[in-house]
Symmetry: C2
Subunit: 431 residues, 2 copies
Amino acid sequence: MFLTAELITKKRDGKKLSEEEIRFLVSEYTGGSIPDYQMAAFLMAAFIRGLDRRETTFLTRAMLESGRVFDLSSLPAPKIDKHSTGGVGDKVSLVLAPWVASCGVAVPMISGRGLGHTGGTLDKLSAIPGFRTDFSIEQFTEILRGNNFFMAGQTVEIAPADKKIYALRDVTGTVPSIPLITASILSKKLAGGAEAILFDVKVGRGAFMRTPKEAKELAFWLCAVARQFKVKAEAVLTRMDEPLGRFVGNILEVKEALEFLSGRFEADLYHVTEYLAVRMLGLAGIEEKEARRLLSARLLDGSARQHFRELVRLQGGFVGAVENPGLFARAEYQIPVRAPQAGWVWSLDAREVGLLAIELGAGRKTVQDKIDYTVGFEFLKKTGAQVEKEETVAFVHSNSTVTGREVAMELGQLYDIRREKKKAPGLIIKS
Amino acid sequence: MFLTAELITKKRDGKKLSEEEIRFLVSEYTGGSIPDYQMAAFLMAAFIRGLDRRETTFLTRAMLESGRVFDLSSLPAPKIDKHSTGGVGDKVSLVLAPWVASCGVAVPMISGRGLGHTGGTLDKLSAIPGFRTDFSIEQFTEILRGNNFFMAGQTVEIAPADKKIYALRDVTGTVPSIPLITASILSKKLAGGAEAILFDVKVGRGAFMRTPKEAKELAFWLCAVARQFKVKAEAVLTRMDEPLGRFVGNILEVKEALEFLSGRFEADLYHVTEYLAVRMLGLAGIEEKEARRLLSARLLDGSARQHFRELVRLQGGFVGAVENPGLFARAEYQIPVRAPQAGWVWSLDAREVGLLAIELGAGRKTVQDKIDYTVGFEFLKKTGAQVEKEETVAFVHSNSTVTGREVAMELGQLYDIRREKKKAPGLIIKS
């Protein structure tokens, strides 16, 4: 037993905490013996004074062990997970997981909800009527056994300490700390039982890490701490300056993912997704050339799409809409956004797009908010495209003409259009 | 209106807050709209990043204005208060206030309870049966008008914000911060309506400020911020390495104060108290020689003691015991402490003595603890005294022979006795 105030004081003065001390803080806080205000003071001290890699490993382990952990050792297939640090229009997981699963690699994926201006895989999945992400560990294991992947949320069984601590960080100004982010991500991801994890660390205006320097640091921490748990870990830095793919918005992104799995895709989304898929297969021991061949074959023969259909069935979702996306609900109005002038699109700020999407109802401002799954954006033109004056560059999908028109006007202003030519940027920054 | 999380973030990143921002934090926290955990995160950020003098002034003002303030402008006498940062055996206020009041200077004194290892004036006063420190501002003003001084606690009317914030700091490792200490002390002291305040900043092993450097810094902040409120402020640094005077313990110290007011005192206590009294009279415009003459006269003619007697009567205490201290309750056992060897006393650690006094029941370990007003210590020998082996150097006053004997043994070990000669130290460090 420790005195909580003394542990707070120790970190306040920049000293290091032992594994026992960190475990005490986490377990007593999760159990309710340490009140929110003491944890808040500790988190602020940890934010400012920092945690070193050992302390971050201790924190990760304590949060991980606050819940149950998948034991997938009886499954013969290699088990590989992927984690994205979050972006706008980032529906990569929806395509990547069934695609990789269709190549014979098991993907036990634990995903999160939208954070700040970014969307969340869990919210997108919830846009499929009936789809559930809260099964027990045993049920998810069965789903994995039957279809080679599952897509789970952070259920009550998984890292409850992280859930409680994250909620507190969110309201006490202690979110953007690399050690705290690392421990939070890993405590969930490690619970999934994967033997390797690929981190997609987003960089740029629409990412939480604005610069490659910050992103590299986070990537380094994620890999270094993950390896302490005997998990293979690799990281990729990808650009998140403008929305990824053609759509932003929950149902719209699910439909885009289904289109992808049927063989029709935007170049930027394909490029990032295929790159990550090759890397995941690489972690499973499949060399690059063979990986590309396999991925191409599974996409063309429809098995990737079939795995997604089966996932929806196994997790209780409306399979009819997967087979016929026209059955998905649709926003009442599609309001065109027109180019204010002729020229080339130089940028389309993903962060601002994300905030506008929330304004429209596609995300939450507070935890209590309800999401309107049908609303969002379709981008016909993105960075590098040439446009005529008054050409339609995007559509706003909205259920209110008033809000829709306001948002459409603001979206138009996010288009930075200039006379000089501009090329579309590359997306893979560092691997 | 501000977003609390944004103000926390601002301070977390080392930025300065405006008066409106600090006022918002204090008033919304006191009113209950800002929860403890957000205030705790803010206090930790303020602790580590610091508050500058302007911010500390804002914080002081916001806490001061959370409650009512004495308006003593209709009283003709100069109004001077004194504040001690706390020590062991520090019964100076009990003597100083009636003494200075008897010289025609009004002393509106707001005191606190024991903190950590130190004793509190309020606890000592509460040892007088019936004595109340929770009158209204109007009642205290009447008491002041009738007898030239009052001794009040931090009632519900006075700086409620400080009370709530202090309780939170106590459990979140955010106490020893000079800006936060300054604002806490001043928000209470300034409420008393004094036009000048003398700060007795204790330095040494038994003080919160261990070194003259720290003490000077606190003294400087207290005076600088007090002056922002158009209050004259001076500070004195006095040594607190060993207990002050002959007794430690609540009733024992009240009796020692009564003895003093009857003209019998220990040299160290007299030296500090008279020095502070001269300085308080100085703040009231009385020059030093005249001040000494006046103080001596008022002590000898019994008016100082008479003022104390009248205070006890006006604040509801048992006057009989003041007139005949034999009527005060007394601990059942007086257990002698003997010198382990012959030589000179080199030191007697005041902090350890304070902690032993709490062990004995003279102070609180937690807010809920009840104090035994009768228990404590009498010191026959202190630093600089020559002792024989087995000579009685102190008595433990206890109501349990078991605890009393244990404490007596530990107290004996606190006496650092050596063969070499040692002189008693001076007490005034800097003025």
